[in-house]
């Protein structure tokens, strides 16, 4: 096992600190990062998404949770996805039932300060979660949703849904969500200007 630098924090240490913390932090590869606040538009889009799923999931063994649910990806990343859906038996890291390890669908709403992480590092780590079937990134600058679906051989197929008339298809939970719902009450710069 490679030696860690002196200030390296183990996942166990992180979880212990985080359980007592007043604010949420992410963990990545030995370090703890405070989570940034979000814009109102970001919050509205998350609420719209989370609001859509319970109805769609009523007859399935799946539940939806919002940014309060900690997810462990790969042992290197612990974070709070904007939206997470898990199905069947929930699996947790360790004895405490507070860190989910088997999400089926994860959705991140992009913002300028997190876009490179959401598309880059986080997606790379999420891809290592065996139970994950889909990962979606949702723009807050325009009506656009990109869904990555896990394929055979560890490949991911990306489908882009664009415009308020489009309907995003979440195959992992057999649900379709119109972008008009995801972006309800969200105004973009050029609309209505």
């Amino acid at each position: 096992m490679a030696a860690h630098p002196q200030n390296w924090i183990s996942p166990e240490q992180y979880l212990e600190i985080e359980r007592d913390a007043e604010f949420r932090h992410e963990y990545y590869n030995g370090r703890i990062y405070a989570m940034a606040g979000r814009s109102p538009r970001h919050a509205i889009i998350i609420a719209n998404l989370v609001g859509e799923f319970p109805g769609l999931l009523k007859k399935s063994p799946c539940f939806v949770a919002s940014s309060d649910f900690r997810v462990a990806a790969s042992g290197r990343l612990y974070t709070y996805p904007d939206v997470v859906v898990a199905c069947g038996e929930h699996k947790y890291v360790g004895d405490r039932q507070d860190t989910l390890s088997n999400p089926r669908l994860v959705i991140e709403v992009l913002s300028p300060s997190t876009e490179s992480k959401d598309r880059g590092m986080k997606f790379t780590e999420y891809r290592k979660i065996e139970s994950l079937q889909e990962y979606a990134v949702v723009s807050q600058e325009e009506a656009k949703v990109e869904i990555f679906r896990c394929q055979d051989g560890g490949r991911w197929l990306m489908t882009e849904y664009s415009g308020r008339g489009a309907v995003a298809r979440f195959e992992s939970i057999e649900a379709s969500v119109p972008l008009a719902e995801i972006y309800a009450k969200v105004q973009f710069g050029e609309e209505g200007a």
Binding site: L110, E115, S116, T124, Q151, G154, R155, W156
Partner: protein, 194 residues
């Protein structure tokens, strides 16, 4: 046609300014953006990629270009300088001059912290609108990892990830395979300042 704001620059004006400019700029939808310089390792990786692809494509009618060549995705859309591009068959150029390529089959961007969001987000979405383009590739400079996005029928894109120095990246669009050991030859990871 929609009216443009007063400081809107046309593609023709951009090309005229850019052809005489001392530094490179990108263009998108009426505006010009100065391009940042690359780091040492960024440049080493780009050079390795161009050399390895050149060797792999020696017997094929494909040409490898570097970040000196401008590429255009649509008339008022993005004009940019990918780190590496490959064109197979006859190159096609914008407006008759042979300095703005319109038909790359493959473009490669080496990621850097300051441009990662842009490369993964906006720039990738622009590349996806370029009809001749079959693949775009994002290359990490902090670890040995290459992500290949391939155009599928029906407008979807398939992501294949190659990670680790013993893996071999496959570029279907130009029928070439390049070991990551060659892409990252002489590159040291984990150093400050990359």
């Amino acid at each position: 046609m929609a009216a443009h704001p007063q400081n809107w620059i046309s593609p023709e004006e951009y090309l005229e300014i850019e052809r005489a400019a001392e530094f490179k700029h990108e263009y998108y939808n009426g505006r010009m953006y100065a391009m940042a310089g690359g780091s040492y390792w960024h440049s080493v990786i780009s050079g390795n990629l161009a050399a390895a692809l050149n060797a792999a494509l020696r017997t094929r009618p494909c040409v490898v270009t570097t970040s000196d060549l401008r590429i255009n995705v649509s008339r008022e859309g993005l004009y940019t300088y990918p780190d590496v591009a490959v064109v197979c068959g006859e190159p096609e150029f914008v407006d008759g001059r042979n300095d703005t390529l319109a038909n790359p089959a493959l473009v490669i961007e080496v990621l850097s912290p300051s441009t990662e969001a842009y490369d993964r987000g906006f720039k990738s979405s622009q590349y996806r609108t370029l009809a001749p383009l079959q693949e775009y590739v994002l290359v990490s400079q902090t670890e040995a990892r290459v992500e290949v996005f391939s155009r599928q029928i029906n407008g979807n894109w398939l992501l294949t990830e190659f990670a680790g120095l013993d893996s071999i990246a496959r570029f279907e669009s130009v029928d070439a395979s390049v070991p990551l050991a060659e892409i990252y030859a002489k590159v040291r990871f984990g150093e400050e300042g990359i």
